[in-house]
Amino acid sequence: MAVLLYKNTKVAVQGITGYQGSFHTKKMLEYGTNIVAGITPGKQGMEVEGVPVYDSFEEALKHTEIDASIIFVPASFVKEAAFEAIEAGVKLLVIITEGVPVWDTAEIALKAKEKGVTLIGPNCPGIITPGQAKMGIIPGNIVTPGKVGVVSRSGTLTYEVIQQLTNAGLGQSTCIGIGGDPVHGIGFLEALELFQNDPDTEQIVMIGEIGGTAEEEAAEYIKENITKPVVAFIAGQTAPPGKQMGHAGAIIMGSRGTAQSKIKALNEAGVPVTKTISEIPEILLKNKNK
């Protein structure tokens, strides 16, 4: 089963004619993603890697159904692209672009919620269901189909973890990079819920980092709702403390947000937190052989 993205998911690529859009369209196609349309305003009639390009969803929808869309357009155009996709009825929207203003993301996230669209990103590596399809930039050659669900706040660190899982013979059901922006689409909670309900996922890896309280909240959620084993890693354990968001930030964060706080919360929820990434597969293998 996996979650959110499958072999037959019909995917559109927004910004397909751009430098990143065209390159990763090639990579996604090579991986087997069912890309049915590219969208770049003003470029209708072109083809990118054999994918027909349309000016708009309206035009594309005359020729194909679209279930999901991935956005590679520059930051200042992301809001427009995202609204177009949501209004056109996609069910899954992945935004790779980094540098999107917080207030634009907020509008997108609220609209997505209103319309029941699952949003991943922005500023994220996307999602990959090994052996089926990928939307985003996670290298296809490092994943392998299996039973571990991966969710991560960090981009490149996600690859690191996946690579080590694969090297250890631990395949993945689906890997989701939720992105590191302060406002973003689905977070740990939603991903954990999806993996909990997915019969193909047996264990879950969660990659967090310092700052914010998402990991603490995830720990609470795991305690109450997740019965599958979860293993976590927190990046930035030795990083110097960052600037606070004024007193307001300090009040809200309290003692949370630090690596110690996150590790403590996760441990209390029964989640082991490893010192290095290479320890993650070890724990998963132990769980598996129990």
Partner: protein
């Protein structure tokens, strides 16, 4: 995270007609005297710096005479804060204060919410109030697209015993603060203290404002906010201009990573294996050869960097582009320090090949590469 100086934050408040005491920004004792004369004594002299607790650190002084203006402004201008000289003072007219409040609005990203906070016990130690008298701190959460209206704040103000005209005025103030955050691409606007004057006015006595850096392309007026530049070292600015995220630290290993998470994990492992990173440097996703070359240039100029460690797991970043950047930098800047490269992911083969042609054997795994870099540092120390 674009934190602004007090006077810059206040300039945003002023644009939206949030009431403020009269004030002037100055850069010298002479200007301070002139400003004090124009505003009328007594005035408060406030150092413009990004870190807090200015009062306790002697960076805010109330003065009653011109002689005191001269003395105290000279004194403050001779000090440092955040490791940098204080260059600007805000000279502000003293207002007769009846009561001090705390008010703030911040983006709570994980809930796509705005968090508005208010306390009738404002002043220096609001964090203490939050801990010891949480019932004195109101936290009101709104969706980010809320239409802010005064009545939304009435229940919180009433709980704090504020009623009648004062409730209406304060609600109007808080409403405006939310509007400002929404309209100006801010992620924080904090006023501590917000004061009620003897003559019944509510004024923002301080301003801590954080702008969303990602929105700077649509705010040309932010170019005038020197706080967005002053907080960086020359090298950090150079990096920033090249689109590189760079923070200087104390250590021996110059580290280049693609991605902040990978960068942090690399730092963690450097320490774990027994050395220290000289910096945090993230070239971001999809780095061009020019960007990688610039990163190496910056690190190679630092005499304390003993080893350079490049850790790339290509997703949107392509291995060949990174390799080209490394080779280019070595040649152009004649870099002699040892460079350890870990390269994997998108276009890995092309990248490894390019490096090999120039005599660099890239690692594919992260931990051995970091171990190697730490080892090289230890060898040099001997």
């Amino acid at each position: 995270m674009g934190m602004l100086y007090e006077f810059e934050g206040k300039s945003i408040f002023k644009k939206h007609k949030l009431p403020l005491p009269p004030s002037k920004v100055v850069t010298s004792v002479e200007e301070a005297v002139k400003a004090a004369e124009e505003l009328g004594l007594p005035v408060v002299i406030k150092a413009q710096t990004l870190s807090g607790k200015r009062g306790k650190r002697g960076l805010i002084k109330k003065v009653d005479t011109i002689d005191e203006v001269k003395e105290k402004s000279a004194e403050i201008l001779s000090k440092e804060s955040d490791g940098r000289p204080i260059k600007k003072l805000l000279i502000e007219k003293v207002v007769p204060i009846k009561q001090e409040f705390y008010a703030s609005v911040m983006v709570d990203g994980s809930h796509v919410a705005l968090l508005s906070m208010f306390s009738p016990e404002g002043g220096m130690d609001i964090e203490e109030i939050a801990k010891t008298k949480p019932e004195k701190l109101e936290k009101i959460m709104f969706p980010m697209d809320i239409k802010p209206f005064g009545y939304r704040f009435f229940p919180a103000l009433k709980r704090q015993g504020i009623t009648g005209k004062d409730m209406v005025k304060l609600a109007g103030f808080l409403k405006k603060l939310v509007e400002i955050v929404q309209k100006e691409d801010l992620t924080l606007a904090e006023i501590n203290p917000l004061v009620l004057t003897e003559d019944g006015q509510y004024l923002a006595l301080d301003a801590k404002v954080v702008v969303d850096d990602n929105a700077s392309y649509r705010h040309p007026e932010w170019k005038e906010f020197t706080s967005l530049i002053d907080r960086y070292t020359k090298e950090e600015i150079e990096a920033k201009e090249a689109g590189i995220s760079f923070v200087e630290l104390d250590g021996e290993i110059g580290m280049i990573a693609c991605g902040a998470g990978l960068g942090m994990a690399t730092m963690d492992l450097i320490k774990y294996f027994g050395a220290n990173p000289k910096n945090f440097l993230d070239v971001g996703g999809g780095a061009s050869p020019e960007k990688v070359s610039k990163a190496l240039e910056i690190l190679s100029r630092d005499p304390e960097v003993k080893v350079i460690l490049v850790n790339v797991f290509g997703g949107i970043t392509r291995g060949d582009q990174v390799a080209l950047g490394i080779i280019d930098a070595i040649k152009k800047f004649n870099i002699k320090i040892p460079i350890v490269v870990r390269l994997i992911g998108t276009n890995q083969e092309e990248g490894v090949k390019i490096l090999k042609e120039h005599g660099i054997e890239a690692y594919t795994e992260m931990e051995p590469a970091i171990k190697k870099a730490v080892e090289l540092v230890k060898q040099q120390k001997k």
